[in-house]
Symmetry: C2
Subunit: 263 residues, 2 copies
């Protein structure tokens, strides 16, 4: 039983709504969303859940991370048959099947109607940059190595215009062949933290994110830090509402992590 069966049999009733927190190393996965023929986090989770629960499962996630992007606090919801549901046993069985690349940090019963995506108030993403002359083998999987010295003050200034409600078209990949959706998002907080030893961490909380928005913003902010762009340009780029206005390289996926989802 997979997500791609044309008519999945229904989950045996009565059901419970389940909320699960999942961490994963995104390398080796073609993102979260299940796709036929490729290994995805969502596809792998669904297969394992169906094996453990012995009935079809349809999962919803809070944030559809792209290929190579990590998560520490991805949240997933689904329905399980109530008569055989034991949260601890499900967590243990899933971790036996999936760890260490994918780890289930928590499984609990959620209130009826809880939906990992629609119930979320906001998402927090983190992006790690290692700013040292030489790379680091132990951060290679989770941080973007930038050798040129970055001006932390300029990068901090560049965050200010992002806070608040804006149209982020300049920083988003527009889905092809569809009616163009709204790119208006509310950024609650955005800033850089100097973790020490040349490691810089960008953290951004928003109501929701457009596709490639964080990597696009980090690409631009690193241009600002390296002196190739000025922090003052960000407000203008936002106002332009054209992808070409940013013109900065997309930061690589492996530095990005869906850190937390707030409800």
């Amino acid at each position: 039983m997979t997500l791609f069966d044309p008519e999945p049999p229904p989950v045996p009733t009565p059901t419970v709504r389940v909320r699960m927190t999942v961490a994963y190393d995104g390398r080796g996965y073609h993102g979260f969303a299940a796709q036929a023929g490729v290994k995805t986090v969502g596809g792998t989770l669904t297969t394992s859940l169906e094996r453990v629960l012995r009935h079809p499962v349809a999962i919803t996630c809070a944030g559809r991370t792209d290929a190579g992007v990590h998560a520490w606090g991805q949240v997933v919801s689904f329905d399980a048959a109530a008569d055989r549901f034991d949260p601890d046993a499900v967590q243990r069985s899933l971790n036996t099947l999936l760890a260490p690349a994918v780890v289930v940090r928590d499984v609990e019963e959620a209130p009826e109607g809880f939906d990992a995506r629609r119930s979320a108030r906001s998402r927090v993403y983190r992006y790690m940059v290692v700013n040292r002359p030489v790379p680091d083998p132990f951060l290679a999987a989770t941080a973007w190595w930038v050798a040129d010295p970055l001006d932390r003050r300029a990068m901090a200034l560049g965050c200010d215009p992002l806070i608040g409600e804006h149209d982020f078209t300049s920083f988003c990949r527009i889905p092809k062949g569809e009616q163009v959706p709204s790119m208006v998002r509310r950024v609650i907080d955005a800033g850089w933290c100097d973790v020490g030893e040349g490691v810089l961490r960008f953290e951004i909380e928003a109501s929701a994110f457009c596709h490639q928005m964080v990597r696009s913003l980090v690409g631009m902010l690193v241009e600002v830090g390296s002196g190739r762009r000025r922090a003052g340009e960000l407000a203008g780029v936002l106002r332009a509402r054209r992808r070409a206005a940013a013109g900065a390289p997309l930061a690589p996926p492996h530095g990005l992590c869906l850190w937390e989802v707030r409800y």
Copy 2:
């Protein structure tokens, strides 16, 4: 040109003695020491050095790490032809060839007679344990996951008998088919540090180490932490000078890191 050529042509004279600090992610390497037919850190480094310097190179390392063991501060020495030697250029070229799995952190001219192995006063190894009920995808490459709660106080007590000069036969793999060498080593310091969020770090400094000594000690100390052995047993195990006396499982290689070499 590799280490295995029967008669390597000499390094063009005059030469300079070079000291290099190297970090590596040990996964994917069959240890440091060059061996025919398998990928090793030393073999890979030698091949790259010979490509960059354009003459044969014979390297000496401070600590021959085992398969899967990492290093942050491995030190390597070798001779280079003096007329074309530029430390910064060598570092840049090697990192272009080798990073991010192997990273050259520093290259410098050393005094004549400097030998990475024989000149070393002591080596410092670190071993990381993640002691949480569920594993962590981002520490899976560098730490041993131990789910059962560990008694940190007992593990600290277990370190005391290790300090000083002892025969470590009970904690070492004896080389086969050779005259048994002395297993007497001087441990300068050994202890656990609680890094937070369930991460425990064992650090040990000694004049030198026998084969598998740190992993064997950590295996025993984790047995003590889990309550299966008592801290008081360590002194007796040391005195027994028999491998079977320890009887604890060897800690896995991926938690171990050659942290620093002191001269």
